[in-house]
Symmetry: C2
Subunit: 482 residues, 2 copies
């Protein structure tokens, strides 16, 4: 076989096209407000615009990038728009994008310490620093009994925590022989759906997740938790795990961590804290109260990829006892045996997660922490909370509207007084303007709008404009009804 | 609160620093052969070089990038080096890096179709095109009963397949009530450790994974599989799942898919095919024989992030019946309810995976397929296989060495005749040169070296040099022993 030409992109072309993509992204962020936040395409429209076969011969990169502009952009919902107030923030930033780029360029695998030591050690160091900044317990440090690890999402983090709890309870018997249907777990009825999903995936059974009653603020009621645990024990079942949510997805409710923690300690339950979005607030001393009681937690999850300017995916999971996690997930086949692992001197992150492979995600988190500094991070978090507070004030002052739940941080749930139907129509109308995108939830059975403030460049003018659109739509719909 | 300055990176700075990072990566790839492939740092060395606190005030990006050069580079094992022959390839490429960059810049979430329609539709289209190129069954197309989805890794893919199989068998009872310890699964003793890990995570129990005997080529023995299934039924257990590996991690053994497939069909087992690395070979018609029998498979996994020039993570999972997968993993809380989902017109990929969130990974795969074209992909795959074949020839021709297993594709397992100890010393010595990095395995209980050819820029000179280093080390060690 003769030596042939290469089809790889040359370094010169990479430099040239790389600059084009960088400029493309800068242009996109500068112009993102021009696009309708919520995509307007109909199902199948984007797919229909794409070729159906891999081309026989490679295409020019310029053509590919042009297609991204012409065929992909119209099919996006613009999460980085300052008018994006839906779901939860998933904010990106310059340093995070460049950290992700650098990780992609390096293309190293961090499954074992030895497969790229820096990939593991930067992650350990960054998660230690972040634990300091959030005021998390000493045990969560790599110098303590626990440590932190980056997962792709809070869903994967809670699955790992649940499996660790399951194995701590069964002394690894479940891992070996399988579940027996006797282990039960607890969360509030407002907790994230990922818990129920994890219960199914982990073989524990979704019906074995007890959804505990909430109080008037949609936070878990500790007395109900204690009663359910007792009732399950009376049934001969084994309570193993509880999740306290700091900032529920639906309404940002804050479960009473200290009270839940005392019950978990007394009952020997693994306590997992889901602070996926709202953990970011604890970067500021004045919101550190969120963490009162966190010393009882066996695991804690916070997603910098939600509200800390770090591109998805970057979900941080800390555990108080790393052996509980690695004991549940570790497997060492011969082809991964190496000196450092055998000597027990290193952390091998493959034993802290479901996947084996992992990329260098710590790089973008390290970039973000250093580029913003404590001051910059706190500034933007405070600003978002302040803007949400202003909106809550306007809603409270408007006789047509009401808050549907307390708004302690950056999420405001509200409704127009009257029917669900009217609220649905308001939401549809404002989303139809293309200027904003809000989503909804149900609280006490009633349809409510949710407005999340957390995209990197959301400023006062955007929240003001959102409220103006809401109030105007409401007025129009009230008039047309009369 | 007064309006304050922003701490975000300005668009101008993003353009400037973006170019610096692009150039950094181009320089890195041009110079990667200068670094020792396997990192030489000792445990803790990188962590000790890093600051232990997040700075109070943000730092200049130039300083951060300088630290990446000075403090991170020495701690890397260079997976993109053409001298990297360890584990499996995890090859990157220009178009993939730029696709990842674009996805990071867009920062969209693809958890639901509606959260960014293009993110879902490009993925569907790209996986359909790739299924065509690999000659996979019609059922795997989105136009058929199944479809494809990008997972982070083959480990997560097999977990999803296993959970789908578990639920198909139990008619969703397991999902609801938990496992009962009666379901069993099968793979060869040479299959990847992720199967055992998934059995534990899914609550089925690692001991319920039967490791079937292999033949002289380390491929699964179908008669033994049939006998084990029968024995388990006689014990009152429920066989639910089997995995056939096309290209085992240890030695690249090819399980007899057609024979395994017939057994699975007759016995009603879910057949999963793990072609994580070697599926890439099926891009070439002359290696399409790998897929003989794939029409029996319920699911099939191939990782473009191994040997198809697409940065980690990008693991493609296809299923023949998408309802089996989504039925096992779907949960729809109120805050995710939307018109398109309710109308049943769209694919919501959150139901095809464990995590809820997902980034726009299809973009890099689309870039790679279009940039290389069929011709470019086949060229490099063939080239790697040809180079591995040359090495196998040299080993066979050398009286001191022997092949430890057949080398059908791009992985060569071999050993120096004689003791394990001698082989371990050869491996340690050549890895110590810094020019190459190989890993080992055990076959028939004996220590063997593995040389994988699959990094993007590995060429004849690199494989020749690796063999020269091996032969020279062996000669030196033979001499010093006499």
């Amino acid at each position: 076989m003769a030596e042939q030409k290469s089809y790889h992109m040359s370094p010169e072309d990479f430099r040239r096209h790389g600059r084009e993509v960088i400029d493309w992204i800068a242009d996109y962020h500068e112009n993102v407000e021009r696009y309708p936040v919520l995509s307007r395409v109909r199902p199948g429209e984007i797919a229909d615009s794409l070729d159906t076969e891999v081309p026989a011969r490679g295409e020019a990169f310029d053509q590919i990038l042009r297609d991204a502009t012409e065929r992909i952009l119209p099919g996006l919902t613009h999460w980085q728009s300052p008018g994006f107030h839906a779901y939860f923030p998933s904010n990106a930033s310059g340093p995070a994008i460049l950290g992700e780029l650098l990780a992609a360029g390096l293309g190293v695998q961090g499954m074992l310490w030895s497969t790229s030591p820096a990939c593991t050690e930067v992650e350990m160091r960054v998660l230690d620093m972040l634990a300091d900044l959030l005021g998390l317990p000493d045990a969560y440090r790599s110098s303590g009994s626990g440590g932190g690890v980056i997962q792709d999402s809070a869903s994967s983090a809670v699955l790992c925590a649940l499996v660790a709890a399951r194995e701590r309870d069964s002394r690894l018997l479940t891992n070996r022989e399988g579940c027996d249907g006797t282990q039960v777990a607890y969360c509030s009825g407002e907790a994230h759906s990922s818990l129920e999903k994890a219960m199914g995936v982990a073989g524990l059974g979704r019906a074995k997740l007890r959804k505990i009653a909430v109080d008037g603020c949609f936070a878990l009621d500790p007395a109900s938790l204690a009663a359910e645990v007792e009732a399950d024990r009376a049934r001969g079942l084994r309570p193993i795990f509880a999740c306290a949510t700091l900032g529920t997805t639906s309404s940002n409710a804050l479960d009473p961590l200290a009270a839940v923690g005392r019950i978990c300690r007394d009952e020997g339950l693994w306590l997992h804290v889901d602070a996926a979005m709202s953990g970011a607030a604890a970067l500021c001393p004045e919101y550190r109260y969120l963490h009162d009681g966190v010393e009882h937690a066996d695991s804690y999850c916070f997603n910098p990829h939600k509200w800390m300017f770090t591109n998805f995916d970057c979900s941080c999971l800390w555990v108080a006892d790393r052996r509980a996690l690695t004991g549940a997930l570790s497997i060492l086949p011969e082809y991964l045996v190496n000196e450092a692992t055998e000597a027990g001197q290193v952390v091998d992150y493959r034993d802290w997660q479901v996947p084996l492979g992992r990329r260098f995600r710590a790089l973008k988190l390290w970039f973000v922490l250093r580029y913003y500094g404590v001051e910059g991070l706190r500034h933007h978090i405070r600003r978002h909370i302040e803007l949400a507070g202003r909106l809550a004030g306007w809603i409270e002052a408007d006789p047509h509207f009401e808050l549907a739940a307390p708004a302690p941080l950056n999420l405001v749930c509200f409704r127009h007084r009257g029917s669900d139907r009217l609220n649905e129509r308001i939401l549809k109308e404002i989303n139809g303007t293309g200027e904003v995108f809000l989503t909804h939830t149900r609280l006490d059975g009633r349809f409510c709008m949710r407005l999340s403030v957390g995209q990197a460049r959301t400023e006062a003018e955007h929240v003001e404009r959102a409220w103006q659109l809401i109030a105007q739509a409401a007025e129009r719909l009230r008039k047309s009804a009369t």
